[in-house]
C-alpha cells in the first residue's frame, strides 16, 4: 500500500507543533499500524538527502499486544483509529486503503500535555490511583484465598471493570476531557469485591477530588468514552459511581 501521512510534530512540551506530510510506499496490509510508523521512521533515518539524519517520529508503545496501555494516537479523528475495541498497536493496515491519507495526532487533553511529537504525559492517571485506587492491605496480612467466597457474577463484573489498561483514550475522546470512565472502572472493581468494600466511599471521593484537582473535566454523560474505550469498559460503572457514592453525598 502507498499512503500519505500527516503527522503532528512537536519538539518538546514548550514548543509549538505542526503537521508534517510524508509519503510512504509498499506497506503490507498485514503490518500493524505501529509497524507502519516504524517503516516511516526507518525511511526518515535513511534519508540520504539530509546528512544530519532526520529525527524519527516519537510515539509511545511497548507491549504491542493491546495490554500495557502505552500506545495512544488519534488517527483520522478517532482514538486508537478506525476499529472497535482495539488499541493502536493492534490496528492493522488492512483497515486502510491504498492511496489513503492518514492524519495522526497525539491525545489532546489538559490532563495529558504533549511532551514530544505523538507522546503525552499521563502521570496524572498514576496520581489519581495513588490518591486511593487500592485496597489497604500489607504484604502478609491475607487470610486463605478461599476464606471469602465471591459470587461468580460479582467476580466477573469486577474483572470487566479491572480490564482498564489506563491508556487515556476515554479522556482524549471526551469533549470535557473527563477521566470519569477510568476512575469509575477502578472504583467499581474494588467496590464489587468484599475485600475492597470497606474503603469504597473514601476511595471514590478521594479519586474524584484528585481528578478535579489535576484539571480533568466533569462528566456530562455524552458516552463518547465508552465507544472509544479499547477494553469496552461500560458506562454502567460511571452510573454506579454516581448512584452509590456521589449522589448520596456520603462523606468519608
Amino acid at each position: 500500500m502507498d499512503l500519505t501521512l500527516k503527522v503532528w510534530r512537536q519538539e518538546n512540551a514548550k514548543a509549538k507543533g505542526k503537521f508534517e506530510k510524508y509519503q510512504i510506499k509498499n506497506i503490507s496490509p498485514d503490518s500493524s499500524f505501529l509497524e507502519m510508523i516504524d517503516a516511516l521512521n526507518e525511511q526518515l533515518i535513511q534519508d540520504d538527502k539530509d546528512p544530519v539524519a532526520k529525527e524519527p517520529v516519537a510515539f509511545d508503545h511497548d507491549c504491542r499486544e493491546g495490554i500495557c496501555g502505552m500506545c495512544s494516537l488519534y488517527i483520522n479523528g478517532r482514538a486508537h483509529g478506525p476499529d472497535e475495541e482495539i488499541t493502536t498497536c493492534q490496528l492493522h493496515m488492512r483497515k486502510f486503503k491504498d492511496g489513503d491519507t492518514i492524519v495522526i495526532e497525539p491525545w489532546r487533553a489538559n490532563g495529558f500535555p504533549v511532551i514530544k511529537d505523538l507522546m503525552v504525559d499521563r502521570q496524572a492517571f498514576d496520581k489519581i490511583l495513588q490518591s486511593g485506587g487500592f485496597i489497604s492491605a500489607n504484604t502478609g496480612n491475607a487470610p486463605d484465598a478461599n476464606a471469602i467466597p465471591i459470587g461468580k457474577d460479582k467476580a466477573e463484573e469486577a474483572m470487566d471493570a479491572a480490564s482498564c489498561i489506563g491508556c487515556g483514550a476515554c479522556v482524549a475522546t471526551c469533549k470535557n476531557s473527563s477521566a470519569m470512565l477510568f476512575v469509575a472502572s477502578k472504583v467499581s472493581q474494588l467496590a464489587l469485591l468484599p475485600q475492597g468494600k470497606h474503603e469504597s466511599v473514601k476511595r471514590a471521593h478521594a479519586m474524584i477530588a484528585k481528578m478535579d484537582e489535576l484539571g480533568f473535566g466533569h462528566c456530562t454523560n455524552t458516552g463518547a468514552c465508552e465507544v472509544e474505550c479499547p477494553k469496552g469498559i461500560s458506562l454502567d460503572h460511571i452510573a454506579r459511581l454516581n448512584r452509590e457514592f456521589l449522589a448520596a453525598n456520603l462523606m468519608p
Binding site: C68, G151, M159
Partner: protein, 639 residues
Amino acid sequence: MPAGPIAEKWTKYKAEQDLVNPANKRKLDIIVVGTGLGGAAAAASLGELGFKVKNFCYSDSPRRAHSIAAQGGINAAKNYQNDGDSIYRLFYDTVKGGDYRAREGNVYRLAEVSNDIIDQCVTQGVPFARDYGGYLDNRSFGGALVSRTFYARGQTGQQLLLGAYGALNRQIAAGNVTMHVRTEMMDLVVVDGKARGIITRDLITGELNSHFGHAVVLATGGYGNVFFLSTNAMGSNGSASYKAYKKGAMFANPSFVQIHPTCIPVHGDAQSKLTLMSESLRNDGRIWVPKEKEDADKIRKGELSPLDLPEEKRDYYLERRYPAFGNLVPRDVASRAAKERCDAGYGVGSGQAVYLDFADAIGRLGKAAIEARYGNLFQMYEKIVDTNPYELPMMIYPAIHYTMGGTWVDYELQTTIPGLFSIGEANFSDHGANRLGASALMQGLADGYFVLPYTIQRYLADQIGVARMNTDEVPEFNTVKKDTKTLIDKLFAVKGKRSVDSIHKELGHIMWNHVGMGRTAEGLKEGIEMIKKLRKEFWEDVRIPGKENSINPELEKACRLADFLELGELMAQDALHRNESCGGHFREEYKTPEGEALRDDKNFMYVAAWEFQGTENPAKLHKESLSYEAIEVKTRNYK
C-alpha cells in the same frame, strides 16, 4: 543455603536471620530498578516495612511493565481441586521441568510461598476466575498432571501487576517509595566492593543523574529481545543485568532460553514483535500437521483447506509421540517437535507453522464454553491474522519467550557483588534449563513479596552504620557517570548509515539461526564470529539521529543494542561449552536415536556462572555444582 531437611530450610532461615529494627529502617535507602511483578512487589513490601525505597522504570507508568502482558496464569500448590497437589509436587514438577539444572533449596522455597501469593493477591482485589460456588477456579498447564493454575481470564499478568501496582501506589502516597518513571538505569556504581547506587538517564530531558542506595535490587526482566523478534515488550532489554555483569556480578546459564510453542507465525520483514497465544490453549486445542507431504504442499499453496483433510490424514504428532502428556508436554518439547515437523516439510501457512485445532473441543463443550475460556485470545488472533479460529484451526509456531538464564544469585537472591540483589526474570534461580508455564509470575511475586524483603535484611543489618552518601562527593559516582556520558558521545559520533533496528534485526537472525532451537558446535562457532563482526559494524556504521538532551528513542535502543551485541556472544559461548542437551538448550550432537534430548549429568550437572574478562576476551567459567537430596534425578520422560 541453610542446612537441614529441605522442607525446613526456609523456616529455619527466617527464624535465625538478622533483622533491622524499625527505627533503623528509615535510615536505609533501597534502590529497586523495575516495576514488573518482581519490582513492584518488592518496592511495595519494602516500603511497608519502613525502608526508604527509590523505584525506577523506563515506561511512563509502573503499571506498564512487561509483566502486564502475561496471559495464562500463576501456579500455586493450594490443592483446592483435591487432585493430589502439594508443595512437594509443585517443587518436584518445577525441578523436573527444569531438567535438573535448578537449585533444589530455592525451588522448594518457591513452592512453599506459592500459596501465600494467591492469598495476598485475592486480598488486594485481584479478580481471579471463580466457579459458581464463589470459590477459585484452576486450569492445568504444560508439564503438570494437576490443575494448579489460577487465572484471570487471559489477563492474569495484568491483574497481578495491577494488584502489586496498587500496593506500590499506596506506598508512594505514604511517602515510603519515590517513583521515577521514564528513567533508565544506565550503569551500576560499586564503592569499596559494594553496590551503592546507579546512574540513570532521564528519558525526557536526557539528564544523567546519580542515585545512592544502601542496596540495589535489579528487577529488570529478561533479555529475550536479543533475538529481536520475541514475545517480549519492545523495550524489554538486558542492559541492567549486563552492566552489572561488567561490574562483577556473574551471569548464570545465559544460553538457557525458552522458546514458546504457541505464537502467531511471522508475517514478513516489517514484523516488529511476536504475539503469544497462551499455552492454556493447549488444554483444549489439538496440534497437528498433515500426514502426507503432498497435502501440506497443497495447503501451503492454498489449494486445500485444513477442514477438507480427514482425521486419518492428520498427524497429531504430540499425541503420537507423547501419549501420557499429549498436547500438554513442556514447552521445549512441544517447540522442538513443531520445528522438526516443519523442517521435514510438513509445515502449513508459510511452511513455518502448525495447526492448533479447537474443532473437537467446540464439538464437545460448545462454542460458548470455548468463548468463555479463551474469548479474548481468539479475538486477538482474528485481529492479527484475519481468520476466524472458531472456524479454521489457528496457525502457530515457536518463538523466543523467556530467559531462564540471568544474574547469578545465592539463596538470599544476592549476586556476586555484595549489596546487589536480583529478582524475577532477571535472575537465573528457579527454572533450571526450562521454565514451566505459569511459574514466572509465581517466581516474580515470590521474590518480591516474600523472599527478598526477608533476605535483604541480613545484608542491611550490617549497613546501619553507613551514612547516606552525597553522590557528588563520591569519586566512584562521578567516574561512572562520566563513562556513561562517554558511551553516549561515542554512539552519536559514529554518524554511520545504518539504523539501530536494521542491525538489531540482523543480530536476531544470527541468534535464531545459530543460538536458537537446534544448536551445533559448528553453528555456534560461526555465530560467535558473525556477532563479533556485526558488533564492529555497529560501532562503525550506526546512525543515531536527534539530540542527546531530549526524548530520543533511537539513542535508547542503541544503548540497549550495544549490550545485546555482547550478551549474544556470551550466550553462544555458554551454549558451546555445554556439551549436552537439557531443557531449552538442545545440541543436535547430543540426542537419543529417537531425537529426544540427551542430558549428561556426569559432566554438566552444574550452573555455569560466567565472569566478565573484558569485551573482547572470553568470559571465565565458574561452576556451581548441583546436588539433589530431596528428589531422585531421572531422565525427563513425558511419554
